[in-house]
């Protein structure tokens, strides 16, 4: 079983965002999930990571069935917006890697790396852009060659050229050849244009999903992309990679320069053989329903391994939507239970690791957790009492100097 070790007291600010999810705990994926999920997100809100975080979620999970039932499964997901509160047209991204073939079970090496940069640059238009790059490993045409690089970049914007159909681009990297198998790594990335079914061809499994900006409700901006690569077809058999990512451009409330970057790196080294990882993320759009404050998902990265040496290592958390508080609180409680630590401390650990959370969201989360004494201080010199318990009253003063 996974154990969680929550790093303590890492000076804040060092790690931009570290989040980890240990999916191992999930009953459905029980056995020996090992995952490395790493996501870094730069969430910009008002300039510099301020007010409105966005979020990324990454999940990694590899499950290898016991007894040779090699049906690794991987799930990742992003989720968003499923709820009505987020609006009908919200976008969501989920990425899923399905390692389907039995022979993929032990050798899967996957390095997936993805990153997305989203930004609302003036020249790209007000509604935001999405740029993605992709490397595509072609099958037959590039036989022998390692990887084919296809770089696709796309600006998804309101531009008429991209119009109705091609809202999304997905690219997938399918590492197909046996030659690549050894040291292999595969970088998969991508996005795809979904309307190009014929072009992509029936043989290659590529799936990309995207939800963009379609509906009026989300119209202001926001683009979401998710990419999925499913390795299924024979051509892609030897290995595969998956990457998904999502980028999100926030609406006006989230301010001008919003950026979300997520990167994931997956690798299956020999010593971590038992599994592999996957990362997916999702980004959330901030719709009006979520308000100016964050949506957020959370995140975390974790390196959970079935290997002994990694066991004590990091793990951590998840974050959920900071906007609601209750959801994240629930996650924290769950993790706290696994870690045998108070939920509040788990949250503090996450913050210490760089988990960015707005004061507003923090307040809601604390409020949703049991026994979370809070005191809000106001102007300089103000004093107040912190009622931890009747017997323990702490007086606090705050003063602010100017230089």
């Amino acid at each position: 079983m996974s154990r969680y070790y929550l790093a303590r007291y890492v000076p804040p600010g060092i790690v931009p965002v570290l989040v980890a999810a240990a999916l191992d705990a999930h009953a459905g994926f029980s056995v020996a999930a090992l995952s490395t999920a790493f996501t870094s997100a730069a969430l910009d809100a008002a300039g510099e990571m301020g007010v409105a975080p966005a979020l990324i979620v990454a999940g990694a999970l590899e499950a290898e069935a016991e007894g040779g039932d090699a049906t690794p499964a991987l799930v990742v997901a992003g989720m968003l917006d499923a709820e009505t509160a987020l609006g009908a047209a919200s976008a969501l991204v989920a990425s899923v890697a399905l390692d389907g073939a039995a022979d993929l079970a032990s050798l899967t090496l996957t390095t997936a790396f993805g990153n997305a940069t989203l930004e609302a640059q003036a020249e790209l238009g007000a509604s935001g852009t999405l740029v993605t790059t992709a490397q595509l490993d072609a099958a037959a045409e590039t036989a022998g060659a390692m990887v084919v690089v296809a770089s696709v970049s796309m600006a998804l914007d309101a531009a008429g050229e991209l119009s109705a159909n091609s809202l999304l681009v997905a690219s997938a990297a399918l590492d197909g050849a046996a030659e690549l198998a050894g040291p292999t790594f595969t970088t998969a990335f991508g996005t795809a244009t979904l309307d190009a079914a014929g072009v992509v061809g029936a043989s290659i499994t590529l799936v990309a999903a995207a939800a963009l900006d379609a509906a009026a409700e989300m119209q202001v901006s926001h683009a979401l992309v998710a990419a999925m690569v499913l390795d299924g077809a024979g051509e892609a058999a030897a290995s595969h990679a998956l990457v998904g990512f999502a980028a999100l451009e926030a609406s006006a409330e989230l301010a001008a320069g919003h950026t979300l970057v997520g990167a994931a790196q997956l690798g299956a080294l020999a010593d971590i053989l038992a599994g592999h990882t996957l990362v997916g993320f999702a980004a959330l759009d901030a719709t009006a329903a979520l308000g100016a404050v964050p949506l957020a998902l959370a995140f975390t990265a974790a390196k959970l391994d079935s290997g002994a040496d990694l066991i004590v290592l990091p793990a951590l958390v998840i974050a959920a939507r900071a906007d609601g508080g209750s959801e994240l609180a629930g996650v924290l409680v769950e993790i706290a239970a696994a870690a045998a630590r108070p939920a509040q401390l788990v949250l503090l650990d996450a913050i210490a690791l760089g988990f960015e959370i707005s004061p507003e969201a923090l307040a809601r989360i604390f409020a949703a957790l049991p026994s979370a004494p809070v005191i809000e201080l106001g102007t300089p010199g103000e004093t107040a009492r912190l009622a931890i318990e009747p017997a323990r009253v702490i007086t606090i003063e705050i003063s602010v100097e100017k230089t």
């Binding site: 007291y9 650990d349 960015e356 809070v374 201080l377 702490i394 100017k402």
Partner: protein, 57 residues
């Protein structure tokens, strides 16, 4: 705890990082004081609010 850094742009409502974990045990009856220093001299902007969360393990 000394000199916890925080930065913000002129338009930000909060500094970043916005939260600092302070792993200290606070004895009963302790008096806590907080001070801040800012390179902003604006009479309003230089004043920060602070929220303290105490956690009882």
């Amino acid at each position: 705890m000394t000199d916890l850094p925080g930065v913000s742009t002129a338009l930000d409502n909060n500094i970043s990082p916005a939260s600092y974990p302070l792993p200290v045990s606070i004895p009963k009856g302790a008096r806590l004081a907080m001070r801040g220093q800012s390179n902003i001299t604006n009479a309003t902007d230089r004043i920060k609010d602070a929220v303290l969360y105490g956690v009882v393990p």
